[in-house]
Symmetry: C2
Subunit: 457 residues, 2 copies
C-alpha cells in the first residue's frame, strides 16, 4: 500500500515529496518519491504523522470526567483526596462487562484523537469484596479486549498494590486493588505475558502503584525483573507523598527507588512533579522516563512537571491522558510547555535551541510519540523503515488550522489543531479511524451511557 | 417561539421543567412550564445556556495562530516581544477586505464555540503608511461588518495608541495604530457611536491601548468620558511594563490609573497579571473588571491572573480569546481555575464556598457570560425576562460529555465539553449555528486561506 498525504513526517523531517509504503504485514517498507507506480491511496490536504502514544491511562476513570469539580454539601474541601474518594466510588462496583464498556468508550476517544498505543495502568483486579475472580486476570483481559476491538495497540501495566499507606489503616475502598504479596503480582504479570505472547498488539509490564501503596520489600523483588520489562510507577505527584515517604524511609521517593535499584531505562516515573535537584539528576543518570499528564495534574492541583530540568539532566519524557479529564495528547503537549511558561514567565521553554526550524514543535511531538514508545518498550513512535505503520493524519483545512503556512505546519499542528482535525488513524497499517469516525463510536457511547447511569444512580 | 431543551439555565438555576419563551423581537418573554401550549421547537438531549461573551478579541491575530512557536534562524529568543514582531508583520499590509476576511473566519469560529458577543479591541486604523483612510473608520467598519454577517453581537473597542513606549523611538510597524492626539481617538469614538446608534447588535467603547502606548495626558482626557462608556485597556501583562511605568510615573500601572481616575465599574483591565496587593484592592474598590485571557497568557508566558484575590477584593472578572491561539471560552474557564490550581497546589480554587451544588462551575460560567456582559456594558449574559435571547446549547450525548449525571451537568459542561459539543447558537433569538454548523463556515475558510497565503508568501 502506498499512501500519499500532502506532507509526511519521515524520519523526523517533514517532507512533501514522499509516499509512505506499507507492507501486507503492517510494517513500513519505505518512503518512495511521489509518482512511484503502485496502488496509491491519496490523502489530499493531510499531514501524516507517527501515531500518538498515550503512556499513562486509567481507562475506567472516564466515568468521573466532569463530575468532580464539586464540593458536596458537608464536605470539608475539594482536593486530590476527595477526588480520589469519588474515583473509588466509581471503581467499587463495576462489573467485568462495565470495565470493558468504560474502556471501550475512552479507547474510541483515544483513537479519534490520533492515539495508536495506550499504556493502561490497570489496578482493578478483584471482585468488589476483594476476593479474586475465578480467572484472576479477568479485568485485565476486559481492558485488553476493549483495546483490541477498538484497534489500539495496548501495553497492560499490571498494578501491584499492597496497602493504603505507611501507618494507615486499611481502606475498604481499595479491596479490588490489593494483592496479598508481591509474588501474586508477579504471577499475574507472568500469566498475562504468557497469555498475550502471540499478539503483536498487546504487551505487558508491571506497575508498582506508588511508594505510598507498595512497601520497600515488594519493590526489592520487582527490581529483580529483567531489564526489558517496562516498570511504571506513580512518583512524587503530591507533597503529602514526599512527607510520608521521608517519614517511613528517611528518603524522598526517587532516592528510595534509586537505593532499591529500580531506576533504569525501562523505568517510568509517572508525574515526577515534586522532585529535588538530586532526584532529577538521578532520573537523568538512569535514562529513566518521566511521564507527564498535564491536564490531570492541572485538574488535581498536583503542580508542574519540571520537564526542562529533566531533559537537561538526560531523562526522557512521555505523555499520558491519565484520568481522562480530556483525551487529546496534542493539548497535553501545549500544556506541558504552557505550564512551564507560566512558571518561568517566558515562551517556548522546551525549545531545543536556536536556529532549528520547528524545533519546539518537533521536540514536543517526539515526546508524545517516540518518548511514549520508549517508556512502553515498543518499536513504534517514528515513521521509518521496519517500524509498524502506526500513524494519524491531520486535516490542514480544518478551521482550527487553516492558514498555517507550510514552513510552520508542524508548529500549527502541535499548537493549534483541535482534536477534531484528526481524520485518519491506522495501527499496523489498518485504518481504525476514517474521516474522523470510528466504526464503534455509537455503540461505545450507548454502552457507556448505561454504565454511567448505573454507577451514579 | 417556545424552546424545549432537556435542561435550561434559568436565572442561574439549572431547570429541567421549563421552556424558554422568546418574542418576535428576540427578547426573552419568560420560562413557562413544559407542556405549555404553543409552537414548540424541541431541542432533545440539549442543555441551553446563556451565550458566551468574549470580552477581549484581536480578530486579525487569527492569522498568526500556530505560527509563532518558532525560533527563526538568527533570532535571539522567542519571547513576548518577538511574538509581537510577527503579529506586526501580519498587521502591516492587510487590506480592508483582508481585515474583513480574517475577522469573519474567527467570528465563525467564535459562533461555533457558543460565543454570542465579542468585544473587539481594535487597533488597526490607518493605511499601511500611517495616513488615515478617506473614511477614517474604514477598518473598524470592516470588523463590524464581519460580526454582523456572522450574526454576533459586537462591541467595537476603538483603540487609542500614541507611541512605542516611554523614551522609545517610534516603531514604523505601529504606523497603522497611532493617532496624532487624543482628540482624534475621541472623534473616532463619537463617529462610530453615531454610525451604529440604531443597531442593537453593535455598540462602541474606547480602548486606550496600555500605559506603554498611551501617555498620562491622553488618559486624563479619557477619564472625562461618561461613566457608561466601556473603557478597556491592557494592564500589567508583562513585567517590563511595570518597570517602564514606574520609571516614567513613579507609579505602578494600576496606581497610575487610579490617580488619573480611570478606575470605575465600566473600566476593564485586560490581563491584570502582575499586580501588587494594593492594586488588587484598588481594582476591587472601583468594582472594575479584570479580563483574563488564560490561553493567550499561557502562550505568551505572561503569567497567571490572580483571580481568587481579585474576586475577594470585589473586582469582577471576564474572559477573552485575545490572540485567537484557541477559540473556546469553556477551555479558557478551565485554564483560569486550572492555572491557579498549579500555583496554589489545590483544586477548585475559585469555588465560591462549601455546600453549593455546582458552585464552581456556575461561578466560572458566570464569568464568561454575565461577567463579560458587565465589562462590555450589555444587558446580555443571563437568561431572564427582558434580556435578549442570546444562548447556546450543548449536546449531552457528545462523546466528551456522555455519562455525566444530571446533578453534575453544569460541571460536566464547564470542565469536560469539547468545543464541538456546541450545537445551536442564537443571538436575539435568531439561530446562527444549527447542529454545530454555520452557513458561512466554508466561505470563511476559503476567504481566510487566501489572505493567509498572501500574508505569508
Amino acid at each position: 500500500m502506498l499512501l500519499e498525504p500532502d506532507h509526511l513526517l519521515w524520519e523526523d523531517t517533514l517532507r512533501d515529496d514522499l509516499l509512505l509504503e506499507v507492507g501486507e504485514d503492517g510494517v513500513i517498507l519505505g518512503a518512495p518519491r511521489k509518482g512511484t507506480a503502485g496502488e496509491v491511496r491519496r490523502l489530499p490536504g493531510r499531514v501524516l504523522l507517527p501515531g500518538l502514544v498515550n503512556a499513562h491511562s486509567h481507562a475506567f476513570q472516564r466515568l468521573i470526567r466532569g463530575c468532580t469539580e464539586y464540593v458536596a454539601a458537608g464536605a470539608l474541601a475539594d482536593d486530590f483526596w476527595s477526588w480520589r474518594e469519588l474515583m473509588y466510588r466509581a471503581a467499587e462496583t463495576l462489573t467485568p462487562e462495565e470495565v470493558h464498556a468504560s474502556a471501550r468508550q475512552v479507547f474510541v476517544e483515544m483513537a479519534r484523537a490520533g492515539i495508536t498505543t495506550v499504556g493502561e495502568f490497570h489496578y482493578l483486579h478483584h471482585q468488589p469484596d476483594g476476593t479474586p475472580y475465578g480467572e484472576p486476570n479477568l479485568l485485565s483481559a476486559q481492558v485488553v479486549r476493549a483495546a483490541r476491538e477498538v484497534g489500539l495497540r495496548v501495553v497492560l501495566l499490571r498494578v501491584a498494590y499492597a496497602r493504603a499507606g505507611y501507618q494507615k489503616p486499611a481502606n475498604p475502598r481499595q479491596r479490588r486493588f490489593i494483592d496479598p504479596g508481591p509474588d501474586v503480582a508477579l504471577e499475574a504479570l507472568a500469566a498475562l505475558r504468557s497469555e498475550f505472547q502471540g499478539d503483536a498488539a498487546v504487551s505487558v509490564g508491571l506497575a508498582p502503584h506508588s511508594v505510598r501503596a507498595v512497601p520497600a520489600e515488594w519493590l526489592q523483588q520487582f527490581a529483580r525483573l529483567p531489564a526489558d520489562v517496562p516498570v511504571h510507577m506513580h512518583v512524587a505527584e503530591q507533597p503529602a507523598e514526599i512527607v510520608a515517604c521521608t517519614a517511613e524511609h528517611g528518603l524522598r521517593p526517587v532516592e528510595l527507588l534509586q537505593q532499591l535499584e529500580l531506576l533504569r531505562p525501562q523505568f517510568t516515573a509517572v508525574h515526577g512533579i515534586h522532585l529535588s535537584a538530586d532526584e532529577i539528576e538521578a532520573l537523568g543518570r538512569a535514562r529513566a522516563t518521566v511521564c507527564a499528564c498535564p491536564s490531570t495534574e492541572r485538574n488535581l492541583g498536583d503542580g508542574v512537571v519540571p520537564a526542562d530540568a529533566l531533559l537537561r539532566a538526560g531523562a526522557h519524557l512521555a505523555l499520558g491522558s491519565d484520568s481522562q479529564a480530556h483525551v487529546d495528547l496534542l493539548m497535553e503537549l501545549r500544556q506541558l510547555d504552557g505550564h512551564l511558561r507560566l512558571l518561568r514567565l517566558r515562551r517556548a521553554v522546551l525549545d531545543p535551541g536556536l536556529g532549528q526550524p520547528s524545533g519546539l514543535a518537533l521536540r514536543l511531538l517526539q515526546l508524545a510519540t517516540a518518548g511514549g514508545a520508549r517508556s512502553l518498550g515498543l518499536p513504534v513512535g517514528r515513521l521509518a523503515v521496519g517500524a509498524p505503520a502506526d500513524f494519524f493524519t491531520v486535516d490542514l483545512d480544518h478551521p482550527s488550522l487553516v492558514g498555517v503556512p507550510p514552513d510552520r505546519l508542524l508548529s500549527g499542528v502541535v499548537f493549534a489543531a483541535e482534536r477534531q482535525a484528526v481524520r485518519e488513524v491506522a495501527v499496523a497499517g489498518r485504518f481504525i479511524v476514517e474521516e474522523g469516525q470510528h466504526a464503534l463510536q455509537e455503540a461505545a457511547v450507548q454502552g457507556f451511557r448505561t454504565v454511567a447511569r448505573r454507577v451514579f444512580s
